[in-house]
Amino acid sequence: MPLPEGVYCLMAEFETPTALVHAAHEARKAGYRRMDCYTPYPVEEAAEAIGFHRDEVSLVCLIGGLLGLAAMFGLETWIAVWAFPLNIAGRPYFSWPAFCVPAYEWTILWAGLSACFGMLALNGLPKPYHPVFNAPNFRNGATSDKFFLCLEATDPKFDVAGSRSFLEAQSPLSVVEVEY
């Protein structure tokens, strides 16, 4: 695919989460959809403001867990009953109570791994390069103490001049143009 060129987004920097959330509300009201907020810590309000509500991490986690459970219990049963049935201490071949423990552990293992990696995958990470890093002030603040609102160029309602004026109306610290 051809490398995208030109403006990626307009990035407004805010001092406080409150300001950011407010700006986001405004932007959404103004009809902007393709936008994102960047904050140094989770700000749920901002997410709601830009209309992002539910995620699929839980589902991935659940599926992973069930797979783990089935895999281990199946393995144990297969080994003890079919692969090499042996008389161990006079216990039945299918000693399910004993098999529960490792199955339980693997449920958790697989669930945990799928939760973490599912999250990363859904977030599209790892992504060491991202246009927002081109913003001169982004890396100074985004991960420590500043709050950013970014209107993306792909948004139908986006045009450099209009959007810039809209953002400046939200009394940001600064508004910058971010190239790809």
Partner: protein, 293 residues
């Protein structure tokens, strides 16, 4: 503050993640293959021996019996490696000055053993017993392969535990009449090579080996046919006319009074032999003490 990473790094990052995963899988597969590879099992490897003894020549060519050299195979756990004396039986008359036989003559003169390298070498903690296998219908070639076609001896099979279990879990597929033990060419019963077996009632104390008479050529009288469905469920015989097989035209004389059954599948034959040779059930054959003590 500029970017730390180049655009390409995204792709790189993802690729490397995937690659790592693949590598781990590959490694696993390699190790799995390795543990079974000839490099570990020595399967099919020809050790360098003092004398390039050819089983092919001696067995196929000259038609020597296995027991001529491996004398104790039927009565001991150890089949036996022939003493130099056995070689000299013939080679004191023929090939008396062949260069390759020098080690044999040296051994004969000096009284020092010929030093062979063991080809079928089980670990010291495995106790294999030839005697019982041979007496219960496991032929030489089942484990050692077509020795009669090996110019230089090598291990046909891996001799690994899984290989042993393979048969101990289902002996039927390898059992053959004890009369065929030394038959290198034995391929088991099939439509092409049917086998006729008759059971004799032997009383306790008589070796089970004597409880079955088998032949590969169609006997004259009283032939029955093993019904092949379902093989492992044993078989119930049904009498059929003598006109059933075309390939064997020359009926041979065989001890009368026997009711022969025609086997055209190895499974059926195996089940028949399991019953008459009183082979122990898999649960007993796969118990650890059978091989490890």
């Amino acid at each position: 503050m500029p970017q730390i990473f180049d655009r390409s790094s995204n792709a790189l990052a993802r690729m490397s993640l995937i690659l790592t995963g693949l590598l781990i899988i590959a490694l696993g597969l390699t190790l799995d293959a390795l543990q079974r590879s000839p490099w570990v099992t020595r399967q099919g490897q020809r050790a360098d021996q003092p004398v390039p003894f050819s089983h092919k020549h001696h067995v196929e060519g000259l038609g020597l019996q296995c027991q001529y050299c491996h004398t104790t195979v039927e009565e001991s756990s150890y089949a036996g490696i022939p003493p130099t004396h056995t070689c000299m039986n013939c080679h004191s008359q023929i090939w008396t000055d062949a260069q390759i036989l020098q080690p044999v003559r040296t051994s004969w003169e000096t009284g020092k053993s010929i030093t062979w390298t063991r080809v079928h070498d089980l670990p010291d903690f495995v106790f294999f017993n030839h005697e019982i296998h041979v007496n219960k219908g496991i032929g030489c070639s089942t484990c050692h392969g077509r020795v009669d076609e090996m110019p230089i001896m090598y291990a046909q099979n891996s001799l690994q535990m899984e290989w042993c279990l393979n048969c101990h879990r289902n002996p039927a597929k390898n059992l053959r009449p004890t009369s065929e033990i030394y038959n290198m060419a034995w391929t088991g019963a099939s439509e092409l090579h049917p086998v006729w077996c008759a059971s004799e009632t032997v009383n306790e104390g008589t070796p089970t080996a004597e409880s079955v008479t088998c032949t590969e050529t169609r006997p004259k009288q009283g032939v029955q046919m093993a019904d092949l469905s379902p093989p492992l469920a044993g078989f119930h015989a049904q009498t059929v006319g003598t006109a059933l097989d075309s390939q064997n035209t020359a009926p041979v004389e065989l001890p009368a009074g026997l009711h022969y059954t025609r086997f055209t599948s190895q499974e059926a034959l195996g089940v028949f032999l399991i019953q008459h040779y009183k082979i122990r059930p898999p649960r007993e054959l796969t118990s650890c003490e059978v091989c490890h003590r």
